[in-house]
Each structure stands twice: as structure tokens, then as C-alpha cells.
């Protein structure tokens, strides 16, 4: 299924998340578009939603100068 609801042009920084929900419910999350440790804050949102962090690895962009991003990570049920 494809959605076409994303803005066509947007000057704001775009963050992309690839989520694979395995048949057993475990989730592999790839976070793109962040530099530095700000991606960890984004990851925490998904950790709150799904469950427990099993493993994590960083790519080269993780070690680039950090951005300042603020998230609301309130738990919702």
C-alpha cells in the first residue's frame, strides 16, 4: 500500500524511519536523517511505543556534530 500524503516540498529537516515488524512482533527500526546522538532521542519514542531495546548499532553519521531536537515522549495508552 502506498500513501501520497506527505508534503511535496518542505524546507524543514526531514527524518525518515524504516520499521520492520517481524511475524513474531519484534521490530527493527532504522532511523535516518539525524546526526549525532539526536537519533537516540528519536529512537526512545519507538522504544516507549513498542517495548524493550534489545540491541542497537550506530552508523558513521552518529558520530557527526550533534543536532538539537526536542521530542515529546509521553507514554500513551
Amino acid at each position: 500500500m502506498k500513501y501520497n500524503s506527505q508534503p511535496s516540498t518542505n524546507p524543514m529537516p526531514q527524518r525518515e524511519f524504516e520499521i520492520i515488524i517481524a511475524p513474531d512482533g519484534s521490530v527493527e527500526l532504522t532511523v535516518k536523517g539525524y546526526k549525532g546522538k539526536s537519533c537516540l532521542e528519536a529512537m526512545k519514542i519507538f522504544e516507549k511505543i513498542v517495548g524493550e531495546l534489545k540491541s542497537r548499532r550506530e552508523t558513521s553519521e552518529f558520530y557527526e556534530p550533534e543536532e538539537r531536537v526536542q521530542w515529546n515522549i509521553d507514554q500513551r495508552h
Partner: protein, 151 residues
């Protein structure tokens, strides 16, 4: 790319959310939802399982909350035990314990997948994330591509 992680699901759901996931998973695997109090025959082989890391929250204490599905003579009953955990009872005539356990585990895993999928959709939309792609691959994994614009 910045980082990659693996998350283990924890199911904390109200009964309506959980039973919706059961129905969705069962339908996907070809089970039929059973009405009423139909039970398996006494001579049926029976196996009880538990969904790990699950908690079914309810404000309706004492209510008998369960959902039953059936496929090829195998009945699977999902319910909430006294501790709030999701339990699964699988029964079927002429089936070995191993067969019933495998069927129960397959369906239980798919219930968790459906629960996680719906919870993710609800939560990321509430946070103004946009789902731009969604597909089920040949391994029955659900793949989502989600975008968010900082502003």
C-alpha cells in the same frame, strides 16, 4: 543512516485492543471467529500457553473476557488470567501436543505482530509522523516507511 535498533515487544493493552489483534491475526491465518460458549470435547488434546511480556488491563473485574477462533478442527481460546497475562488454550482432536503447541505459538506471535502494528500506527500518527509506505513482504513481515518533518 544514523542508527539501527531491535525492539522486543511488550503487550500492555486493554481487552478491546487485544481482542482486535487476536481477530486480525486469526483472520490472516485462516481461522474463523467462534461465537458463544462453544468448548472443545473432553477427549480433545489440549495445550495451554502464555504470551510473554503481556498484560491485559481491564476495569471490568470478574468479567469473563475471552475470544475463540477455529481452523481445521483446532480451537484456540485467548483469555486473560488472574494476573492479567494473556493466555492461550489450544485444543483439537487427533492432534499431538507438539502440533497444538506449534499452532498456538504461531498464532500468538501473529497476535503480537498485529498488536504492535496497530499501536505503532496509532502512536506515530498522533505525533504527526506520516506513513508513506506500507507493505507485507514474502516473510509476512510488515514494512513501514515513516517520515517526520521538524518544525
Amino acid at each position: 543512516m544514523s542508527c539501527v535498533c531491535i525492539l522486543t515487544p511488550v503487550v500492555i493493552a486493554a481487552w478491546p485492543q487485544f481482542s482486535a489483534a487476536v481477530v486480525a491475526a486469526a483472520t490472516t491465518l485462516g481461522y474463523t471467529l467462534m461465537d458463544g460458549e462453544q468448548k472443545g470435547a473432553a477427549q480433545d488434546q489440549q495445550v495451554s500457553l502464555e504470551i510473554e511480556q503481556s498484560e491485559i488491563v481491564t476495569g471490568q473485574l470478574g468479567r469473563d473476557q475471552r475470544v475463540r477462533v477455529m481452523r481445521d478442527g483446532v480451537m484456540v481460546t485467548f483469555s486473560r488470567d488472574a494476573r492479567g497475562r494473556a493466555t492461550v488454550c489450544v485444543s483439537g482432536k487427533g492432534r499431538t501436543e507438539e502440533e497444538l503447541r506449534a499452532l498456538g505459538e504461531e498464532l500468538s506471535r501473529r497476535v503480537v505482530q498485529k498488536y504492535v502494528h496497530q499501536r505503532l500506527l496509532d502512536e506515530i500518527k498522533a505525533r504527526q509522523f506520516v506513513v508513506v509506505e506500507e507493505e507485507v513482504d514474502e516473510n509476512q513481515a510488515i514494512r513501514l516507511k515513516v517520515r517526520h518533518w521538524d518544525g
